[in-house]
Subunit: 345 residues, 2 copies
DNA sequence: CTGAAAGCGCTAACAG
DNA sequence: CTGTTAGCGCTTTCAG
């Protein structure tokens, strides 16, 4: 009862071990008759191949590793703030792996640490995954992707374009920012503030460009005074909002590069007695908190779960077929309209 | 460069393969001299043992599996509501595993499904973990724990007492509810409503008892009219609160069995023009949302991350030493006081 | 289309 | 204290 191996199945079905292996892996060249006999034995015995043995014998490990930023993730956990990225990534990638008989292992390594390469190599050696999913900021780390590629590990890069190194699964941050801004313009806003994200992330720069795109194509000028720096933290959002609201001709709407900073803006506005959506607010990321604020924040939803699912699917495809690295995949974003945006009074 | 095995290390250090194995596993009976030589070779070559091979050869897999409720987890992910339990569990268990050279794999199985046993057995067969962490409601599933025990898999049960089957890591829900209620009584409240949780969970029943304990030891009577049923959903919280606030002699404070229902209470109160903390509110769980509501909710903090860490640690201990199942571990909870509770006017 | 034999990289058991 | 040998449960050759 405990520990049914391929040999037991082979005996029970009266076939060779290799035939069982063929059936389990859906390989060709097995008659339906034998297939049935094997499957019957498999079901009867409750046989499930051992992952470890599969890895030892064959060339696949049926394992994908997702690499996440250590500091960021742990800080979020520790502060009890939740971790939407991780949650959505698990959602998309784990379920996809499961559906294909793969497992996903989740690893944290510190971005920017000197021995990042060593750490990653250790993970590769220990786990020998069939593919690796990189999340920001690792996905933007060229050196890392190059190292992985050199070692022939298929790499999916979340949130960025692959540009020939691994493959990217991403959304168009620029067009998202443009759409968010256009939403505000459509409501009659002309002076729209922008709170930028940390320039460390590609997406931050693109969001800023999209914001400018929308203004320009609406015939509005891009006023640098309306662009405040931020780094995705609440504190930076507070500072940025204060700066924007102190302007002589202050904005009637603000687009923040993430939810945290938008919530900061909401906070500052209320402290100054400015109502929202009198001051309209749009944010990026659509994390759980934006539904709970009063009013709820209009927000750009990143398709994190879809990106992760796609990443996993493509990596599994590579590992199954041995095909070359897939090409980049662009996924659609969403604009969730809530109470924080309204027509300009 | 790619694929350094134990043999390479043995050659480089001029020792037998087994000696390397001994050093890697911290086994006794190796002179310091050889130890150093081996370690030098290990570092030089960047050797990291293959998990799969270790599992194949030896008796350990260096793998822990955490079993979570499928439906619940996926629903939370899907709705974008976040998943504090999962986050905190990962926080505690993953980091602990990492520190001991173990990995944690996270699996979702549907509680109450007919073939739960089959699913779990499949996971055991495929992964052969050194231990398994059960979260609610799986941790309360006696039949499941019995099956696991029969198969000699060490089992940690989160959130419940072990009572001889596996071992439990848990907090005292009853005393927590008592403390929360006492906090309200201390503020001068005498009519305190209680919104119960789904009776499916042991903790729900205990919380209710703790509530009653506190009232009784303060010399107050337990008025059944002040106890409203709930099932942990927002909707049930709305219904319960409406019922409580419609009472002729309505409560001046409410203790809700989780955050979601407390947020519902906040919502209903505000709709009825009742201010919080005029109506004082205490919740259970201290999930991220309670910090964002206005006012923030006073809440009982479950030590989920600590419980998970302890569970992992103890399982790893068993796997290393082969000791018997550890005994139950009680962990302290916290009471986070925020703006939703104040002295009775 | 099917099967037999040879490992994969490690550790357990046993010798020295 | 150290080394040798025999597997673990699979898949990959390579024969039939």
């Amino acid at each position: 009862m405990s520990k049914v191996t391929i040999r037991h199945v082979a005996e029970a079905a009266g076939v060779a071990v290799k035939t069982v292996s063929r059936v389990m892996n859906g390989e060709p060249n097995v008659t339906r008759d034998l297939q049935d006999r094997v499957m019957k034995a498999v079901d009867a015995l409750g046989y499930v191949p051992s992952m470890a043995a599969r890895r030892m014998g064959g060339s696949r490990s049926f394992l994908l590793v997702a690499l996440n930023d250590r500091l960021n993730t742990i800080n979020n956990w520790r502060s009890g703030r939740g971790n939407d990225w991780i949650d959505q990534m698990l959602h998309g990638a784990m379920l996809t792996c499961e559906a294909h008989g793969y497992r996903m292992l989740f690893e944290l390594v510190e971005a920017g640490s000197d021995d990042l390469d060593r750490k990653v190599v250790a993970i590769l050696s220990a786990l020998q995954p069939d593919g690796i999913i990189l999340t920001p900021p690792h996905s933007e780390n060229r050196a890392l992707v190059e190292m992985l590629t050199r070692r022939q590990v298929p790499v999916a890069r979340m949130g960025v374009r692959g540009e020939g190194l691994g493959f990217g699964v991403f959304m168009d941050d620029r067009r998202a920012a443009e759409e968010a801004t256009r939403h505000l313009i459509g409501l009659g806003h002309a002076r729209i503030g922008f709170i930028a994200g940390s320039p460390r992330f590609q997406a931050s720069r693109q969001r800023r460009e999209g914001y400018a795109d929308a203004l320009r194509s609406a015939g509005l000028t891009v006023d640098e005074a309306l662009i405040a720096p931020g780094d995705f933290t609440f504190e930076s959002g507070v500072a940025a909002t204060e700066r924007l609201l102190a302007l002589p001709d202050r904005p009637t709407a603000i687009l923040a590069s993430n939810d945290e900073m938008a919530l900061a803006a909401l906070h500052v506005a209320s402290r100054r007695g400015i109502g929202v959506p009198d001051l309209s607010l749009v944010s990026f990321d659509d994390t759980p908190g934006v539904r709970l604020s009063v009013p709820g924040l209009t927000s750009i939803r990143q398709p994190i779960s879809d990106m992760a699912a796609r990443a996993a699917e493509l990596l599994i495809g590579v590992s199954k077929t041995g095909d070359a690295t897939p090409s980049d995949h662009l996924l659609p974003f969403g604009l969730e309209i809530r109470g924080s945006t309204a027509a300009r009074q």
